[in-house]
Assembly symmetry: C2
Homo-oligomer: 332 residues x 2
Amino acid sequence: MDAVNHQFRLAARPVGLPKPSDWEYAQEPVREPDAGEVVVKIEYISLDPAMRGWMNDSRSYIPPVGIGEVMRAFAAGEVVASNDPDVAPGEHVTGLLGVQEYAVVSGKGVFKADTGLAPLPVHLGTLGMPGVTAYFGLLDIGRPQPGETVLVSGAAGAVGGLVGQIAKLKDARVVGIAGGAQKCGHLLEQLGFDAVIDYKAQDLDGALSEQCPDGIDVYFDNVGGEILDAALAHLARHARVVICGAISQYNSGAVRGPSNYLSLLVNHASMTGFVMSDYLDRYLEAVREMAGWLAAGELVSREDIAHGLESFPEVLLRLFSGENTGKLVLEL
Amino acid sequence: MDAVNHQFRLAARPVGLPKPSDWEYAQEPVREPDAGEVVVKIEYISLDPAMRGWMNDSRSYIPPVGIGEVMRAFAAGEVVASNDPDVAPGEHVTGLLGVQEYAVVSGKGVFKADTGLAPLPVHLGTLGMPGVTAYFGLLDIGRPQPGETVLVSGAAGAVGGLVGQIAKLKDARVVGIAGGAQKCGHLLEQLGFDAVIDYKAQDLDGALSEQCPDGIDVYFDNVGGEILDAALAHLARHARVVICGAISQYNSGAVRGPSNYLSLLVNHASMTGFVMSDYLDRYLEAVREMAGWLAAGELVSREDIAHGLESFPEVLLRLFSGENTGKLVLEL
């Protein structure tokens, strides 16, 4: 094919926050698709906290990105060439397409994105990995009951904002933790949260006592660290703690374990972890219900769109500095 | 009544290991039972790790022992006077009778102990609180399936030894962690464990790789600290971690949180806590089945019996130095 593919490859394993020298900005020609393959011209790249974990050389749910390999990322784009009879040029798809302009991948490895249903970036957020993560983490593990108190951290992030909204659809009382007045206002005014805690401005323990006076029934944790510990100290009996992520810990050398974990013991509570890929076989079940809520106006989808492939290294860091509100996406 | 009751009262809240000055050795006359009360002459006092928690002034599943109050403890003895028509003098009972020679308590607060079924100390162990703890923690929370690998720490303790034996009765493969060759030999030879790890002599991580090559399906944790962290690093997918206690942490100033807790995330695993009193309404269900196993010779009950009320402060410390094998009981 007569096109050049610019891409970010992992040059070194980061210590702490990824720095410019951890990346190699490379280019190569776009090759022809083999039998069963498609060529996708990428339009949007999803930036997700999980990407930081994929850069570490440690045993996890998928192998790490190898040094010299194109950085792994969910992305969305248009099929521009196809050697798979089930996928036609002109169709929009999402998948693990990498941080690059073109991806040549198996047609079986992509999901078709109905852009009549929602704009393409929404298929990387509410109707993509973060949406499916929020849906199953909350409903399958957290199992909120009407009237229960659901606390979610990273509440202004892609997953957290959806968790809170789904919990509201299930008639729970929803308290969100986020950093800064702007994010907290967004949660209350746009997303319909019942209460918010600004962890940058408020004393966590006091705020939790005030906002969760009967204790926390479901805590959906995206951040780990001191916020997890504070939440553990306020669990209700039979509470369910959902471990979805620990963004405060991904760039620290040593993970801080939750020293209040014995709160699980005195409250007969549980702490359960998961990753979205645990639910791959039920992916469409979540997407269908989320799409229905979106169409009915019962769910607000918020994307935070940055621009330009070359800005990838710095835009990625916004996840860890807490700058983004909603799904962070890079538009090419 | 014409008897003197010697007792240990809590004189001060311990910092770290309880020291002699944290206790007051007191005496008082034994009072007559009011309506509904019984007088129990205590024969055996149960020494349990949970007692350390009861000495702290912190929010927990039961209020702390007050300064100046008789130390709380399970105990067993003979009813010597009764003002409760349902309990007759001469009957043996167990209950929260305290660290003393005589207890005057409500007849509704004691369980009758059938000494024809098993000697009285067994009613404080296998047929008492540790037995019920092991039974529900393993079967209700751990839920081992045939062929699964069950790891238990504090395996030579009262609860741990029963957990391993019950797991064997459920056709699991059982690995015990204990300190020292003598305890490890006891687990293999008397209790029928499949494998043991001597945490004082072996590298935990290497030993877990060797003894749990397919990962740990159920980890029953009595100890916390570095053993919990090591076990978390070896979880199988969908593992269940049962938090029963954390004896390594009870006398440390700050609890060490499990820094490997994100292993729950990558393995879709859970960590659930409980205390025996969560199952009080099903107490007899456990005791009946355990008694059946005992009578059939399918369960070995091991008691470690010390002597003399006055030795209580020093005998209690054996729990924390890891000196006892089986249920630690003080015979008066």
